[in-house]
Amino acid sequence: MRKISLDRLDALFAAISKAYTLYIPTDTKAGAKFEKWHGEERLSDALNTVRSPKDFFFPQTENLMDFKVEGKNIEVIDTRSECGDFAVFGVRACDVKSFDILDRVFLSDPVDSYYKNRREHGVIISLACTKPAETCFCHTFGIDAASPEGDVVCHKTEDALYMEARSEKGEKLMSAVSDITEDADSAAVDAQKKLIEDRLAKLPLAELSADAFGDGKTSEFFNAPEWSELSEACLGCGTCTFVCPTCQCYDIKDFNTGHGVKRFRCWDSCMYSDFTKMSAGQPRLTQLERFRQRFMHKLVYYPTNNDGLFSCVGCGRCVAKCPIHMNIVKVMKKLGGSKNG
């Protein structure tokens, strides 16, 4: 384990920036946001960013390819290019876990080369959460906010940042900052972990359990009468989907620039009325069905296909941002029965 004094964070960021494009969470008037570090940007103290870091690997919108169309002829232009090495500092335990969930979609056969390209070049520098919020429930999904995963794992104490490499990519990054960091024992980090564990146990959602859900529970929950009340106020907007670190549905669209056609992909939401609409019909006619799809996917369908892994990391963004304050916590409590009081 290495450490660096907090008053030398800029030196650390500068050293990382020599080899990587570095992104850190900074404060804006609309909450914390990952921004490219140029030297001026200050590290945010906020617990987490408003938008999740999924953008780094699965951006809101990205060009997939271009087409040149002349008369009856079409030329397909592969616009992909090798991405440069980048590092994302300050990723929280929940969000680090979200990358595993996205990996199982995008890196399964056939591999999504756009995602893989960024994933291979991205280094995740995680940061333990010293002040988990009332909306946090990562422990429900077996995530430990005190000990995040990541290529490099960091703990920030009152005066120092402790860093430990956990992967080959992490080792490489740490070797780039070896001159300015020093060896440290784990005493301060161990003490902090203990403090965080105590805090996690006291969170309002500490008892929330996902045990009622998972592989093979489709028939148990699909026709549950509770969906009607849970979805009655849903506006059908995409806020939950778009702030969610694990939602990854997308749309592919063409955009005619006047000089050619760009085929791009953008985030899409199963909450939208046109998500499954076909010329021939619409299998999900009401908001109840769309609402149910989102939560069934996270709590039942995804785990069925992925060894019981849930497609939620308990980051609490949907809890904070849903315009009508309906969210996965309320769904789990209502459907999960006695286990969730």
Binding site: T61, E229, A233, T241, F264
Partner: protein, 330 residues
Amino acid sequence: MQEIKREVLVNKAKELLSDGTVDRVLGWKRGEFDYDVTPGVFRSAEELDSGFVWGDFCGANFSKYLVKETAKGEGRVLVFLKPCDTYSFNQLLTEHRFDREKVYALGVPCNGMLDISRIKESAEGIVSVCEEDGKVTADTLYDGKKTFDRDALLPDRCSNCKSKKHVAYDELLGSDGEVLDSGRFDEVEKLEKMTADERFAFWQGELSRCIRCNACRDVCPACTCEKCVFDNPDSGVENKAAADSFEEKMFHIIRAFHVAGRCTDCGECSRVCPQHIPLHLLNRKFIKDIDEFYGEYQAGAEVGSRAPVVNYTTDDIEPSQAVERGEQNA
């Protein structure tokens, strides 16, 4: 703190349920925390007792919910309307969006609703929020109790409240207020005084945060089209996300044009924006221009009034005058 207590609302709702005036109640349901109440339908006294809340975080405007709720069946629905909600209520009636006979509207006074994000700006881990004598106290996980002036926690739509007067109701709980002389156009004036480049930079900064979640549109009581132009693949503007940086501005500008003259300035768009984009300022610019061009007009102030933008008179401003004014501001 709200003037009327929860019990008064609950008792009134129970009374109207039991005498058969209504068969369901549109109200706010208790959440996990004090601030995360959810709109919902109550069908019995028991449901009201256990789940109904009324307080400083009941900001949702129920008017739009009436469009779907009244289409569900024959029975009447009870709805609670804050003064600003009543303007949306009237505007929807003007546009024939729901059947008035199927609604029993109870007017409730409003002292302004709090914006939890203002508390969260300076307090982490909010366990509970309570209020006494104009002071709001948040109990937090790590910093103990933090106290705020109530006024400092009001969103713009409430600190610049346009009216405490209910313009529609079947029955009023508590006292009615007056139309207020608010400073709601102050921010718009600041924007008007900017140079075109400054103003462009301002909106670029704000709108570049847009994630196209459509929450603003989906909550807006003026957006009740069966099929929105942005969901129509044949419209040419359907794109869900920005194809280039200009597209998202088009979304908000087209929307502002579409609701011009119909927007009552209820402020729901800004309340729900997950990226805190001050979308209401676009609408207020239209309202201010309409006031200046055609004389003061408040959408929803009365049922059946025709917005100046859809009502030709010989006194209307000449297009050339508008162009001239635009050029002066450029």
